[in-house]
Chain length 453, copies 2
């Protein structure tokens, strides 16, 4: 019988995170203080983040960061996750490509987000923090942090983008089952939320706004810190466990990827699967292609600009050097809520600028078409975010069919879609649509650092 | 780091099903023709079931039935499933017991049901059948059969108990995502459904009624057979892969269970985890306790009678010798839809009668309380059915705390509850209630075989 899954025992759970910053030829530009434009030091981030996260964020020296044992013990609930050969998807496409996926949907929170949530909750616990707050788009990050905080006895308050709060009531329930409090954003509980609702009472929210609200809560509440689910370097680094495992598992399968693909919201899933492989491109031993699959409706990598910008809508964060659509860009209400973010992570943006990776934009209808094909062949109903990676994989596999090349494609299945069935219903009913952003739509939002204050 | 998960590679997926019927000291009594009362032969079941399933159903000779390779290949998508040591649940309970669970929730359809669905879909395919039809309570069996039929290119029509159809719209969507047609039962599409709706237009359905509808469709449609998700001997036998794997995994953990626990609807989950261990009780080498956890509202094992009865509400099946509440018993609308069945499987009923196992009845509120504790400790939100097994496990572990005995308890986590969050919402809101059945309620339903026609 052909082997479908390539598994690793718990003893192979990585002992260290891989810190790409330390090996990049061009280091990311510094974060800047929004008023003074001075480069930030870790201690400037302590009011917002746990100290260890702040230090990791700006660590451009240490290639390998030890993973604390309490974190590895929690990883053992679901790691190592399976690497799976998608034989039946290959057969349905009639492609000579070998398609593999790293299945992060087996995490108890349903997505890869738990990899960073556990780490951040532990660092908070270890520092004596009693409360964490965060934003969530699709609800995957919020669910993951709710789970992780419950493990370490920390209270958790989640601002959930209102459009997702309405579309995905089950994700809210999951957070509540793990003991978190969940507030739809924009809310009247913060100045940032009030300002937005005053301008537009029907605002359905965005990740940028929910981030503003969570940061405001963290900065105004004693012993409370903020935890982010993507974008930041330390978050992307925590996700490196995905790629480090996948590298060993590909070796078990006797292959090495020609192409690595992941969906792209802020960058955590992409960095997780891609960067451990990308390091071998940097040392010249491999020449793998890396493709970030982003939605057409929020095309920061394919159509954004590399500029200093705020990470949130209200402008409470430092200025970050990144590909952005402008921090006040309002993405359409696509079902892949986790991809509705205006910017790309700082580390990732530098790698994109330096040509180490590519981006592909995916239409919403194509993403669900790909997701349904995946469900009917590989049997797993993917999260709408993951559908973007699948759609990009299918495009690449179809190219292989044309050229006859048996390329090895690896993608990350970031999460399952059991809680997103209402989105699938919409797709099946024919009521789902694509969203396009015109050049005019984009032009107004992107500003240079000098125009920001 | 202590080992939490005990894994087996794909090569250890069982090659044979274990057929308890062949080793039972007292064989199950024969199925009877409802009019003539003549014992049935396999060919009498051919109009309803695939031939291979019919043969397996009455096979009291072969201890080991080979698993076809196409079935094993499909199992490889998720098998072998993990055996997990529930360290954090143990710690929360403060019990000296060692608690293990076999995690069948990792199946792509979300529950153990897929183990039999894949087998039945393959046997149908292999016989040239083009259409399968079935009933589903909680939606787990329907989802599993939808998945399995999609793998083998067979059309699938599912009658879903109306109360579940309304409570669990996402389960319906999952079946549709896999390409099945789903009809709420009772429906006007069958004589059986029409009769029930004529008597009570507000009837919210039961497994017994949905079975009647599906059997009627199978018997009146060319090249269409019926597939059942529990109760029948062949279904319970397919589930033996659970216990066969668990036996090897417990050995990896260096333990053997003192107690094995599973939830109980028709018996498939219970048989799956329990019977491979129970065979060692029969040959005298072990003395394990086996506990079936059933809902107080549908107490066929704890308060039913061992009688010949129909398997369905309309009386279309053969007469089956089983513990029953009477085929017209109407279970309350509990959230564990998969446990709302009036009878217990034939093989299982004989084992119960002969004292090889026990039963425990669980209140609905206790089941959800246990499920929430499990979610907050072990991190997996369990299906409402599985919550019954967890509640029984907790009761046993608390006894160990009283006595100080470090017993080894193994239970089956039959499925996850990601699609049951509305039920958890109801529990958290305080609106959920317990349902009790009085002796008077029960008395009217149970009849002797002579009273049935």
């Amino acid at each position: 019988m052909r082997q479908k899954k390539f598994m690793l025992p718990e003893s192979e759970i990585p002992t260290h995170y891989f810190n790409m910053q330390a090996v990049m030829p061009n280091k990311p530009l510094p974060f800047l203080h929004p008023q003074t434009k001075a480069p930030l030091r870790p201690e400037d981030l302590y009011p917002i983040f746990c100290e260890e996260c702040a230090r990791q964020e700006l660590n451009q020296t240490d290639v390998w960061i030890p993973i604390p044992e309490p974190v590895r013990e929690q990883y053992a609930a679901y790691r190592c996750t399976p690497l799976v050969r998608a034989y039946e998807l290959e057969a349905a496409l009639g492609t000579p490509a070998h398609i593999y996926y790293k299945n992060e949907s087996v995490s108890p929170a349903g997505s890869h987000k738990l990899n960073s949530a556990i780490a951040q909750a532990w660092y908070a616990k270890n520092q004596g923090i009693t409360n964490l707050t965060t934003e969530t788009g699709a609800g995957q990050w919020g669910g993951a942090l709710s789970y992780a905080t419950s493990k370490f006895g920390i209270d958790c308050a989640v601002y959930m983008v209102k459009v997702s709060y309405e579309q995905k009531p089950f994700r809210r329930s999951i957070m509540q089952a793990f003991g978190a409090t969940v507030t739809p954003s924009p809310s009247m509980s913060t100045r940032a939320g009030k300002d937005i609702l005053t301008r537009n009472p029907n605002d359905r929210g965005s990740l940028g706004c929910a981030i503003s609200e969570a940061i405001e809560l963290a900065m105004t509440t004693p012993n409370c810190k903020y935890a982010l689910g993507s974008v930041m370097n330390h978050v992307c680094m925590h996700q490196s466990v995905i790629g480090l495992e996948a590298e060993k598992q590909m070796a078990l399968a006797g292959e090495y990827p020609d192409t690595v693909i992941a969906c792209f919201g802020g960058g955590s899933n992409f960095c997780g699967i891609a960067l451990p492989f990308m390091r071998h491109n940097m040392d010249g031993t491999r020449n793998t292609r890396f493709i970030a699959a982003e939605p057409c409706s929020c095309p920061k990598l394919t159509r954004g600009k590399f500029e200093y910008d705020f990470g949130d809508e209200a402008g409470m964060t430092p200025l970050l050097p990144m590909y952005t659509l402008g921090h006040s860009f309002k993405p359409a209400s696509i079902h892949a809520g986790g991809l509705r973010y205006h910017g790309a992570g700082v580390m990732l943006s530098q790698l994109m600028k330096d040509g180490y990776m590519e981006a592909m934009d995916i239409e919403q209808l194509d993403s669900f078409k790909a997701g349904v094909l995946f469900a009917r062949t590989e049997g797993i109903i993917p999260a709408p975010e993951s559908c973007h990676a699948i759609a990009a994989t299918i495009k690449e596999a179809e190219k292989c069919k044309e050229t006859g090349e048996p390329k090895t494609i690896l993608f990350c299945l970031s999460g399952h879609g059991f809680v997103d069935m209402a989105s699938y219903d919409k797709y099946f009913s024919g009521e789902m649509q694509n969203y396009h952003v015109s050049d005019e739509d984009l032009a107004g939002f992107i500003k240079s650092a000098d125009e920001l204050n």
